[in-house]
Amino acid sequence: MTPQTSDHALQVIDLKKSFGGLVVTQNVSMAIRPGERRLIIGPNGAGKTTLFNQISGDMRPNSGRIKLFGTDVTQLAPYKRAHFGLSRTYQIITLFSGDTLEHNITLGLLGLRPSRWQMWRPLSFYGDLATEARRTLDTVGLLHLAEHPVSDIAYGEKRRVELAMALAQKPRLLLLDEPLAGLSNTERAQVKAQIASIPRETAVIMIEHDMDTALDLAETVTLLNYGRVIVDGDRDSVIADERTHEVYLGA
């Protein structure tokens, strides 16, 4: 491992993925520094979520490499990548709807601990997990709903549980897939504040269409179109670039 590579939280090198004849990721390369705030934009079908799925391991690329903190994880199963400090949220709510909010967050905490293999001690005896789950719920303003099942709460609240579940894991790299989608203006402001307050040791990559909010959070921006990186760089230069206007903003 050269020092150069470990300078990055994530390196995507020449990634390719196609479904039959449809190429969804074409020679995508990108590098994220630890603590960086990166926004990924692009029209629908540009391959943003597919890129996330390859980084998290839900999909295997046809070729190319993915490195997390200097380690090549291209062939690793998703659960192993989580143990490298990678967390993600989903565009479509993926929660345990029959369970309470507290239980949902507890699962997030449990996933990275050896006690997840415990077959003897009831989960309810892990007071420290419950305390931490409640603390995380408090940071997203949902502590008062801790005992409610996820199926009982509103959509905007579910989005915040998604975020809380990922944050509870204290990831070093966090992938947020449209964290603001479908939220009201008030909720948008709340979630924005929560994303802004993510500790600086966590690198964040975010897919988001709400440019007004997302650009405030981003330091760097990548524009994808037809599975290709069109423009890549710091926020202001990408926004000023005429290709960005042509492909995305101008539309």
């Binding site: 998290s56 391991g57 839900d58 199963a77 998703p78 659960y79 989580a82 143990h83 967390s87 993600r88 989903y90 993926t94 929660l95 345990f96 709807s97 029959g98 239980h103 507890t106 699962l107 997030g108 449990l110 996933g111 990275l112 006690s115 997840r116 293999w117 415990q118 077959m119 003897w120 001690r121 009831p122 989960l123 309810s124 892990y126 579940m165 894991q169």
Partner: protein, 311 residues
């Protein structure tokens, strides 16, 4: 309300030996054995979301191993029991590796196919298994020198094993691991993203369920003192699955109630109606239509409604 239920259940298990005749006590023993079997299947179906149609493999193989070792190779019951359970668990571990390559319908078909292979072997390898004649003339063990030949003594033995099995499986599903198992059932992709290994969680559960399936098989062969290939048949697997679904999959009480229901129907209805299977089908249809989540969840829902109504 909850304690009334607990008292009723405890009473129905503790009282039979004191007033019931041998026929009913034997029936109760059979229910206990079927309950352990259904509970172990429920670990897969209800808590793991792995619907298996081949669970009779573990019951049958454990029973056959014990029967062969004690009747043909002169093993004592203790050694035979240990070898039989260990062998069955190892077999479950191997079958798990094969079956868990798939989920859903694929998993169901693989478990069905594997159990059909064993059933075929039991039928055709007649020099070992005695084929369609089955293995008869078996004996019951004598734990601590106590004879289990009477209906009552066997019932107590089966009850002790069943309570132990129930508690072990209850601890398993309420543990941290049990929570991971339910998580993998509901959102496998999310669980993997959170750092859980879905395959390993399913495989461990599969093996554990095979272990308890083997325990129920041992009791089965002790009870009947006879073993026949039908114990390995798809009907045997399907009856247990019906019991689990009718009683309420994913609950601890459901499989016990469901197993009791199937056995009672089998024993009572078959005395009056020749085609008792038809009646079982009709009852099952009724349960699925009226109580889609099963008897136990439906009753607890009803009692919640009544309690709220009485306030």
């Amino acid at each position: 309300m909850k304690w009334i239920g607990v008292a009723l259940i405890a009473g129905s298990f503790l009282l039979p030996p004191f007033f019931a005749g041998d026929f009913y006590i034997n029936l109760a023993s059979q229910i206990l054995i079927a309950a352990i079997f259904a509970l172990s299947l429920n670990l897969l179906v209800g808590f793991g979301g792995m619907t298996s149609l081949g669970h009779a493999s573990y019951l049958g193989v454990a029973a056959y191993i014990s029967a062969l070792l004690t009747s043909r190779y002169g093993f004592g019951h203790g050694t035979a029991a240990i070898i039989s359970i260990a062998g069955t668990t190892a077999m479950a571990a191997c079958f798990g590796v094969i079956a868990l390559r798939a989920t859903g319908l694929g998993f169901l078909m693989i478990t069905l196919a594997l159990s059909q292979v064993l059933w075929g072997l039991a039928y055709r390898m007649s020099n070992v298994t005695n084929g369609d004649n089955g293995i008869a003339g078996l004996t019951r063990p004598m734990p601590f020198g106590i004879s289990l030949d009477s209906a009552v003594s066997f019932y107590w033995f089966a009850l002790v094993v069943a309570i132990f099995a129930f508690l072990m499986m209850a601890v398993f599903v309420s543990s941290a691991f049990g929570s991971s198992l339910r998580g993998v059932r509901d959102q496998p992709r999310r669980m993997a993203a959170l750092g859980f290994n879905p395959w390993m969680i399913r495989w461990i559960t599969f093996t554990y369920a095979g272990f308890w399936g083997g325990v129920s098989g041992l009791l089965y062969v002790y009870y009947h003192k006879y073993i026949h290939p039908t114990s390995l048949s798809t009907t045997s697997s399907a009856e247990a699955l019906l019991g689990v679904i009718a009683g309420g999959s994913g609950t601890l009480g459901g499989p016990v109630v469901g197993a009791a229901l199937v056995l009672l129907l089998k024993n009572y209805a078959s005395a009056y109606i020749e085609r008792w299977n038809m009646l079982l089908g009709a009852v099952f249809l009724f349960i699925v239509l009226v109580m889609p989540t099963g008897i136990v969840p439906a009753i607890s829902k009803l009692s919640n409604v009544l309690r709220r109504g009485s306030r």
